[in-house]
Amino acid sequence: MHVSPLAWIALTCAVVAAVIMLLYLVYRPPLDGKTKGFLALGLGVLPIMTALIGNVEGLRATEHQAFCGSCHTMDFHIADANDPDSMGLAAIHSRTKMFGDRSCYVCHKDYGMYGYTLTKLGGMGHVYYFLTDYAWEDAHESLPRVHIARPFRNDNCMQCHSTSGRIWNGVPDHQGLLEDLRAGQTSCASAGCHGYAHPFSKPPEDETEPAEARLDPGVKAPEGT
């Protein structure tokens, strides 16, 4: 459990507001100027502070692996990403100090649960699937059913790997496919290229398929995503 200084401020506001409200409920003082002033603090200013900070913290929380891990459906992906022996792309990218603990977020920024959509329908999609279905089976049973909703976009990788470096461009495969890669025609995270980001979840026979196979959007996007 990590509680940031900002969260302590929010909590302090909440406690003071709660005390004001409780005192009002217990004593029911006459509504003079002083009472109204306190209530303006206790029902207005302080709870609004708590809510604002709570939103900032809440949105930030969704970037952490722990948030994704609060559904057991995601267990294997998280376990593999944090396995020091795994050489999947997700694992490699979870070892940096800079964004390791937010690795799901940096690659899956377009996932429905990020941003304010969290409380809207897009983000609720998976909560809905979870509550109506996945919550009743263990992660082993779910694993073969969970698929990426849309083909993974190279743009997500190119936030960090600009495709303009000397070493990067010196790689013959990159040179030959440069336009395709930038346009997202050929996926970086595919068998034959950098391999899957989460290789453990793919049936072994997939390993031999050519890169283009991944881009055939054979996986149907689930409704609501």
């Binding site: 409200m21 409920l25 708590t50 948030f67």
Partner: protein
């Protein structure tokens, strides 16, 4: 304006409204505070949806009380017409 709402503005009990506002406020704050310590999807979602709706309702009731209050006060919304001085009469 809605009849019921008008009646509320004219005759609503401010202290009863405030009791409701405080109870709602406490529930909203509890939901929002929970998510500060436990950042799993349930607390975070509850705080950002239900918690905020309840909190906003509570604040709304407080504003309603302020409006009721202001309507009962005596205000002079604009400059009074030139006060009549005795000698002018």
């Amino acid at each position: 304006m809605n009849r019921w709402f008008k009646k509320l503005l004219d005759r609503g009990s401010r202290s009863r409204l405030l009791v409701v506002a405080c109870v709602l406020g406490l529930i909203g704050l509890a939901l929002m505070s929970w998510s500060l310590f436990d950042q799993g999807w349930i607390p975070v979602m509850m705080a950002m949806s239900i918690g905020q709706v309840i909190g906003t309702l509570s604040f709304g009731l407080f504003l309603l009380v302020v409006i009721i209050d202001l309507r009962r006060a005596t205000f002079r919304p604009s400059m009074p017409a030139q006060a009549s001085r005795k000698e002018d009469r």
